[in-house]
Symmetry: C2
Subunit: 280 residues, 2 copies
């Protein structure tokens, strides 16, 4: 880092955060970095509430811009997923200034809408990784420690093990990637290793998302697909008779996309960091 | 019809049909058309079972082609929705012959994958309307009578009330249309009135589908969007604070697509027929 102390701004582009969760993450950061505690600023918008969302669309977009366009922040960290990033992404992209480029952006799941748009716009600090809310998971402190290690020190051990070398990478929640295909958010993933994970969807929905993703001409130019974890799969009636890996292999074979095995990402505390693009 | 007796072939590209439901529809057809009972042939594939599906992918594709490519059939009628059409659509489109063009294709929901591909390929008899399984709905016999009236007599009273005149039309389940955007199945809907319906999805999913659909450049060239019924909406946590019409109006306004009001389609017995394209 160019500064002695890393400054991290947290915003919630989708669902709201509780003050208690924010406080737990602040306490953990102090204990992990007693001598150079990062300054974690929770934008007040994180705790706002508007129907499903952490504040109305314009409030969430403005909060994102408050952090992104402030050059004193080294990183913009998403509070959590949930749902709502697609409602702010257009206003966010319209409002970004030059100061927003020299920054890490970390999140996953619903935040993939924003990561996609930023990467498409040429941002080099975009990373798929743990969010603030992950501290509530089983062994969630390890997820937070990993996110901080990447944001503060670019620690290589935070990375998904196959990341690096000559490979360009990107990672998405399947449902989110499916919902941005064919829109102006869809990034150019030519030659990338594409890692996909899912949570709380029935197997037929996983199958349908993979039909969609692998059916797009742009996606077919990836180097290959790696499958992250698909957790809390909801019941399928009748039983789907295939698991997520069989389904992913099926669509890879059908679409001519290279199957590259399993990725160490998912909706859990083990979710590793996957930078978008190349690791410098 | 050019023939005295209409011949209808039923196939199940997605989930399986029961023999009892098929029999009920045959009995109803005889009672509705005692003097010119349509010949309804239920392809044996309808009753097959393979995991989630009415037979394996190749069996379902072949059954569709058996009816589509047989010029003695006036109509191909989808047994039901469910899930699975996206797994057969590529093989179906590859296997169609010239005989397949002079025929009505009727279905909705999951079958929208096939309707889209057929319409994109220039088929003129594609129609969004009731399926065989609809007989089990409350007052489901009216849905079956409507489907038959269209397939047998092109009865104008079967049509969604706004269909006709100078308007080109198309209708889809939102989730299905969302999942074919950006793929080779996506039809050219320039200038069409696009009717959208949904079933058994949470409001945030409806919102996300509409973000996706209205975010696509091709879709933005429609004449406007009409909202069909969104039924059995599953609980949203927290409450979404907007209903389906507010959500549809929001995305229409945001995308610059004309809001054209409500359409008389949905996952219910009142589901009216919407031909793809112009009504001759």
């Amino acid at each position: 880092m160019s500064r002695a102390k890393c400054r991290i701004g947290v915003v919630a582009p989708a669902s709201r955060l509780s003050v208690e969760v924010a406080e737990r993450v602040s306490v953990l950061a102090r204990s992990l970095y007693p001598d150079r505690t990062p300054e974690i600023f929770f934008h007040p918008q994180c705790f706002a509430s508007h129907g499903h969302f952490a504040g109305a669309d314009d409030m969430r977009a403005q909060a994102f811009l408050d952090i992104a366009n402030d050059e004193s922040y080294d990183a913009l960290w998403c509070a959590r997923g949930g749902y709502g990033s697609c409602r702010v992404v257009e206003a966010v992209m319209r409002g970004l200034t030059a100061a927003s480029r020299a920054k890490v952006y970390m999140g996953y799941s619903d935040a993939g809408m924003l990561l996609a748009a930023l990467y498409r716009a040429g941002f080099t600090g975009v990373a798929h990784g743990p969010v603030v809310q992950d501290i509530v998971r089983h062994q969630g402190e390890t997820a937070i420690a990993r996110a901080l290690a990447w944001m503060i020190d670019r620690a290589p051990e935070a990375l998904e093990p196959t990341v690096g070398g000559a490979n360009k990478t990107a990672a998405f929640n399947m449902t989110i990637l499916s919902h941005l295909i064919g829109t102006p958010l869809q990034p150019d993933l030519d030659g990338h290793v594409l890692m996909l994970e899912e949570v709380s969807e029935a197997m037929y929905r996983i199958d349908r998302s993979l039909f969609h993703i692998t059916g797009n001409a742009g996606i077919r130019r990836v180097k290959g697909i790696m499958l992250g974890r698909c957790s809390d799969i909801t019941p399928n009636e009748p039983d789907f008779a295939m698991n997520e890996e069989q389904v992913a292999r099926y669509w890879c074979e059908k679409s001519g996309i290279l199957w590259l095995g399993r990725a160490d990402i998912g909706h859990d505390a083990d979710n590793k960091v996957v930078p978008f693009g190349s690791v410098g």
